[in-house]
């Protein structure tokens, strides 16, 4: 391989994934009800475009087009090991084929292929950190796959068919529970989330963007397929469980996000949060489906689908942005950044919009889906159902807490990283990213704004999916109020109107100030109580920013912090003190690590007993098993 041509892989696979994604988009627009089967000798690979998979095909393809555009330039730091582009191409393809597959073996094969390629991308950097992350990720995802396989096996035994066509309404509670558990491992829902904050940060940024923006949503696809297509529509408590788990993981996800220093890790925890929000929507929708509250079902489903789109767009753009920060400053640690906004002006604007979108600030798209979720939760409170009322009240409480905490976490992210003074030289030497990289981020960010302000087009498009899943639609009318339990209009959020109001009010204020205030401006240094203003260390640090909130919610964390002073120095004139803080995941600490220890202990006992070095013992086992079999035999023949 001539190093001169290294870039060719990047261009080739980048363009290829753009082309094929575009092809799939075209295919799905061309004819929405295609079905084809590739016959092999033993298993048939059948594929089908239905409304749900169509939605996901377009979603995956369009996001991967943006990310591919981005990585065409961004990837040049990975030119030395071009396997990145190869893997990521297949990663995208396997996801696209996954959502159109129409029988269980095809589904499982491409599901696992997706996992394998994403795993290879996680360990791409080849560091010790990436090994641990990769192992954890692959183990967890394997467990998930096995649970999914289990549910498919049970479906197969029930219907004696491999094709999805026969699974409609066949899945009972057991099957659904297994499938949901399996998929929620992939989605990173709270008790199973441990892999996610490790795996997402270690991968290259474009891969993190794909994983967080697209891949976790494959789990949502699976759950929707199982609950709303295969599900027999029983067990309303499943919906409630999903709601509660979703709410908890939303809250805990964002609480942990707030505590992070690593930009990508923060974003990864935020992915957990958003998956939690999506799960809440699914839970409400499924519960409403079982209990036959139609309009709540549709609204919650709209919330789910919209949030999938919104989260995909904003999270992928944020991950791409974090990749650019990493690329141009060589660090992802917020405590070493700061003041990037001056160096990377355009990126910071894009990043700001992404951050606003993901923390659900009103005129943008993130708020839209959360609003629908709130409305459906309020609706389920209003149904007066005996149990759901309390759970949805709790869910509203947790969701509102999540919303506020998301604001705090992302203020920290943006404020510490982009604003203030540069904290290290890394941050000082940053430059504006290449234009192609900016374009790659700009498109999803633009879409965020577009969907946020003018969502009617996408809602009317999503109605096809909602109809496929639930049998009803949500009005895509700008001025049609939502109804939740009875025919009376309940409420309305008209984003376009709000946006216009914002624009009008700001221009009015601007004009007023233009006319009535002095336009004088003076640039001067920040007042720092007379101290040296060059000292960037005087700024608030990221850890300090979140510490007060963390102190209030300290029961969620198991944090260990200590301050080390140099010894033998005068008490009040220390030259140096070291503050270390370690924030541990409570699930990791109280569930995963003890489980691992238990397994290792058991294996040690087993290993000692079963794999004895002593040949006499081995022979003893041989004859012992003979005798045991003999005794059983004697009992059998009587």
């Amino acid at each position: 391989m001539n190093p001169k041509y290294n870039g060719i892989y990047r261009y080739f696979f980048g363009c290829l994934s753009i082309l094929i994604s575009a092809l799939f988009i075209g295919l799905s627009f061309y004819d929405s009800k295609q079905e084809f089967i590739i016959k092999s000798s033993f298993i048939n690979f059948s594929f089908r475009f239905d409304a749900l998979s169509l939605f996901f095909v377009i979603f995956i393809s369009s996001l991967s087009i943006f990310i591919s555009i981005f990585s065409i330039k961004y990837g040049d730091i990975y030119d030395k090991k071009p396997s990145l582009f190869f893997y990521s191409f297949f990663f995208i393809m396997s996801m696209i084929i996954l959502v159109i597959s129409n029988d269980m073996l095809t589904f499982l094969i491409f599901w696992e292929l997706m996992s394998i390629f994403s795993f290879l991308l996680v360990i791409y950097e080849g560091s010790e950190e990436s090994r641990r992350a990769g192992f954890l990720y692959f183990l967890m995802t394997h467990i998930g796959t096995i649970l999914i396989t289990t549910s498919f096996i049970m479906l197969y035994l029930k219907t004696s068919s491999l094709s999805f066509d026969y699974y409609k309404g066949a899945a009972g509670i057991m099957i659904l529970a297994a499938a949901i558990t399996g998929f929620s491992i992939k989605a990173g829902i709270m008790p199973f989330h441990t892999w996610l904050p490790y795996a997402h940060p270690v991968a290259p940024a474009n891969i993190s963007a794909i994983m967080s923006g697209i891949m976790v949503n494959m789990a949502i696809y699976g759950i929707l397929k199982f609950l709303f297509v295969f599900g027999s529509g029983s067990g309303p408590f499943l919906g409630i469980i999903l709601l509660v788990i979703g709410a908890l993981s939303a809250l805990l996800g964002i609480m942990y996000a707030m505590a992070q220093k690593d930009i990508k890790k923060l974003l990864a925890f935020s992915t957990i949060e958003n998956m939690g929000i999506i799960f809440m929507g699914i839970g409400v929708s499924y519960w409403a489906k079982v209990e036959n509250f139609k309009s709540i079902e549709y609204l919650a489903m709209l919330a789910v689908l919209l949030h999938v789109v919104n989260h995909g767009l904003s999270k992928s753009s944020l991950f791409m942005g974090s990749g650019l920060i990493d690329k141009y400053t060589h660090t992802r640690n917020m405590e070493k950044l700061g003041g990037l906004s001056k160096k990377m002006g355009q990126l910071s604007v894009l990043f700001l919009i992404g951050v606003m979108s993901i923390s659900a600030m009103p005129p943008l798209n993130g708020f839209l889906s959360e609003w629908y979720l709130y409305i459906s939760l309020i609706g389920s409170v209003l149904t007066n159902n005996l149990y759901m009322v309390y759970f949805s009240v709790i869910a509203i409480a947790l969701l509102s807490l999540t919303g506020a905490a998301a604001g705090a976490a992302f203020t920290k992210l943006f404020g510490i990283t982009f604003l203030g003074k540069p904290r290290t030289e890394n941050a000082e030497n940053a430059v504006e990213p290449h234009v192609i990289e900016r374009i790659g981020i700009a498109i999803p960010v633009f879409l965020c704004i577009f969907i946020g302000i003018y969502p009617y087009r996408i809602i009317s498009a999503l109605n096809a999916v909602i109809f496929y899943l639930t049998g009803g639609t949500v009005s895509s009318n700008p001025f049609s109020a939502v109804r939740i339990i009875n025919a009376r209009p309940f409420s309305l959020y008209a984003p376009a109107l709000i946006a216009i109001a914002f624009a009008a009010a700001s221009s009015a204020v601007f004009l007023y100030l233009k006319i009535f205030s002095s336009g004088k401006k003076r640039i001067f240094e920040t007042w720092a109580c007379g101290l040296d203003e060059k000292n960037s260390k005087a700024q608030y640090s990221g850890g300090g920013f979140s510490s007060s909130i963390m102190k209030v919610f300290s029961s969620f964390y198991s944090s260990v912090s200590e301050i080390n002073f140099e010894k033998d120095v005068k008490k009040y004139f220390r030259t140096k003190s070291v503050y270390t803080e370690e924030i541990n995941d409570i699930f990791e600490k109280y569930i995963y690590i003890p489980a691992e220890k238990l397994y290792l202990k058991l294996s040690e006992i087993f290993n000692k007993a079963a794999n004895s070095e002593n040949i006499n013992v081995s022979l003893g086992y041989l004859f012992l098993s003979l005798i045991v079999c003999f005794i059983i035999y004697i009992f059998i023949i009587r």
Binding site: N616, L619, G620, F623, F630, I634
Partner: protein, 205 residues
């Protein structure tokens, strides 16, 4: 009738040789006992051959004598000479306990044989008891003794037990099969001897 009694004597001698084997820590003696035991087996087969006038059993007698009585003990002796071990030192259970254990295994096998043997076996449950007991005691030898030779002896005892069973409950396996089995046994003893030598050399080095 008298033939049967004589055959029973041979069989009892097999069991006795095995029990003697258990009671002695000397390897040379054990190999000799094995040779004797195989000879008793061969005589037993010969009795069967005379009784049924079966050419198959005559052939079986010949190859048993060649392989089990002569060749295998010869090679074991040769190896033993090179390795220079004469006594079993490490045992998991002491000799008196082992002998008592062997006795109880015989009782156990009698019990099992009574239970299993229902239909016409040539010489009845008696042979089955003995062969099972021999089998189990051989297994016990393999399990309880650490020296490699004792393990080989135990293995060979098991093999003899199976041969005894084969020649008592049936009129011997087909000659082709028997030849193959004995040849395999012989080769395995050869290989085990080589291994003993190599292990010894490695341990010495």
């Amino acid at each position: 009738m008298i033939m049967e009694k004589i055959a029973e004597l041979f069989i009892i001698l097999i069991l006795v040789s095995v029990v003697l084997n258990v009671s002695s820590p000397f390897i040379k003696f054990a190999i000799k006992l094995y040779s004797f035991q195989s000879l008793m087996l061969a005589f037993y087969i010969l009795m069967g051959a005379v009784h049924f006038n079966s050419i198959n059993l005559y052939g079986s007698f010949v190859i048993t004598v060649i392989f089990k009585v002569i060749l295998i003990p010869y090679f074991l002796f040769k190896t033993l000479k090179k390795v220079k071990i004469d006594k079993e030192i490490d045992m998991y259970i002491g000799i008196p306990e082992a002998v008592v254990f062997a006795g109880s295994l015989t009782l156990l096998s009698n019990l099992i044989a009574q239970k299993i043997v229902t239909v016409g076996i040539t010489f009845g449950a008696f042979v089955f008891t003995i062969s099972l007991a021999t089998f189990l005691i051989g297994a016990m030898l393999m399990i309880t003794r650490k020296t490699l030779f004792s393990q080989i002896i135990g293995f060979l005892t098991i093999d003899n037990a199976i041969f005894l069973a084969a020649n008592s409950i049936t009129h011997g396996m087909p000659l082709l099969v028997e030849l193959g089995v004995l040849f395999d046994l012989f080769v395995s003893i050869l290989i085990l001897s080589i291994l003993i030598l190599n292990l010894r050399r490695n341990a010495a080095a």
